[in-house]
Amino acid sequence: MRGPLRSVGIYLLGFASLFLIWHVAATWILNSVLFPPPWRVVVKAIELARDGTLEEQVSASLGRIAAGFAGGSLIGIPIGLAIGSFPIVRRLLEPYTEFLRFIPATAMITVAVIWFGIGEGSKIFLIIYTTVFIVIINTAAGVSAVAPNKIRAARSLGASSAQVFFFVALPATVPYILTGMRLAMANSFVTIIAAELVAANNGLGKMIWDSRLYMLVDQIFVALLVLGLLGFTADRLFRWGIYAFAGRFSPVT
């Protein structure tokens, strides 16, 4: 085996070892009802998938992440571009970005619930909040990192200021924007669970919290397993999307 097949094989081996260690630890070392082995979690997961509970919780959480992540990116990218392009905008907005980004979204949960209730509003607000600053900072850094010679070359080829922005600065910044969005995606998973733990009608965080009340440890582990899988899949999809649709902007190469 060689090339991509080999790397996929090694990957699967890594995953297999994770489940094996889990199994050994749960069955022989700890052997406690408080730490279920993987097969029990999988059986429980199938059961929850059959009766529709799992789908409801997953789609609730994912829907919130998708809405907030899209909103945060749409707000963050233009602001980041403006901060990176105009020193005056940077000075005006830096108090916001440099102040607010140190207040974690999890610290804003109670405020969000008071303002927007325990429904979708507070969740989407928190995901936007957790997304927007990372996207802004990465986008602005990207604009500042554009090689001055790229801009000089464009000017002496006859490009106007607007053309320099749209045809040079913007495409040169895309890798930074995508990196910011990828980091924001990871943060969104943290934030949504925390928010749903505190106050929500459904979602994976709510599922974990409810399971705790009834000591349904298997069910907690189902939520954890699903979270890991969802996060992993979302990140892979994002990376795959970068390669497929914006390979030439790829931050990796």
């Binding site: 000017r155 002496s156 080829l157 006859g158 045809f167 040169a172 190469t253």
Partner: protein, 261 residues
């Protein structure tokens, strides 16, 4: 009538600590249409500063620069610039996309600019590389893209800032001959910056030698007057010109070395 005229040009940089640094002072030079002019100087003598002012990237502190009688006010399409490194190329565009960039900015129709860009890629010896991206190409090929990009835009003159300095010796020699060939076909006016005496003699119609910085100016101009067949490092007449240039720049090298210590 000269195409480029620098008259009493000075450039003063103000440092953050408040002190002034005069890079060039009282710099005057005229370049004729169709001429290949090499500006030769030791490192740190301000030759890039001169090019940046002609390109319009930096403003003069005193004096005037005019192109065909019109004073320079910022960069414009009449002066194409070839940079030393490859960071001026657009990594997200193909070789063809890079070469047609200027034409696209100026609104030329797609089919027409494609055809033209393609022709210039051929001229610089990049036939069949149209769809490759800069990161897939070697250093020498990337400099060829830069040259094609500037030529396709059909500027009045080329400004080249040590474009071959980062290349290996073999590729550099290749590129020097290619450039010579391209320039005799297109009859472009060129201002070429270098610190390499050999390179200057191989390429130039005239060589301007600069004083060591700071506050440097033009020390003297040497007419090269060599036939193409004489532009070989071992040719007697080449060696004679080399001596002449070396004579002029030797003291400046000594001064700049002393300053660096």
């Amino acid at each position: 009538m000269s195409l480029v005229e620098l008259a009493g040009v000075a450039k003063v940089y103000r440092s953050l600590q408040g002190g002034d640094y005069t890079a060039v002072r009282d710099f005057s030079l005229e370049i004729r249409p169709g001429e290949f002019f090499c500006l030769l100087g030791t490192s740190g003598c301000g030759k890039t500063t001169v090019l940046n002012m002609v390109a319009g990237f930096e403003a003069v502190s005193a004096g005037t620069i005019s192109i065909a009688g019109r004073p320079v006010a910022g960069p414009a399409a009449d002066r194409g610039v070839v940079f030393q490194g490859d960071d001026s190329l657009y990594g997200w565009l193909s070789a063809l996309g890079n070469v047609e960039f200027g034409l696209r900015m100026r609104g030329m129709a797609a089919a027409e600019r494609r055809e033209k860009a393609h022709r210039y890629l051929e001229l610089v010896g990049l036939t069949g590389q149209d769809h490759k991206h800069p990161h897939e190409l070697s250093g020498g090929m990337k400099q060829r893209i830069q040259i094609a990009r500037v030529l396709a835009n059909e500027p009045q003159m080329l400004l080249m800032d040590e474009p071959f300095a980062a290349l290996d010796a073999h590729t550099r020699a290749d590129m020097q001959h290619e450039l010579k060939r391209i320039c005799s076909t297109t009859e472009k006016t060129v201002l070429f910056i270098t610190h390499d005496i050999d390179e200057a003699i191989i390429l130039a119609d005239r060589i301007g030698v600069m004083n060591a910085g700071p506050a440097s100016k033009l020390k003297g101009i040497i007419d090269v007057r060599l036939q193409e067949s004489e532009r070989e490092r071992t040719h007697d007449r080449f060696v004679a010109v080399y001596r002449q240039v070396h004579e002029m720049i030797r003291d400046e090298v000594a001064i700049s070395l002393k300053r660096a210590q």
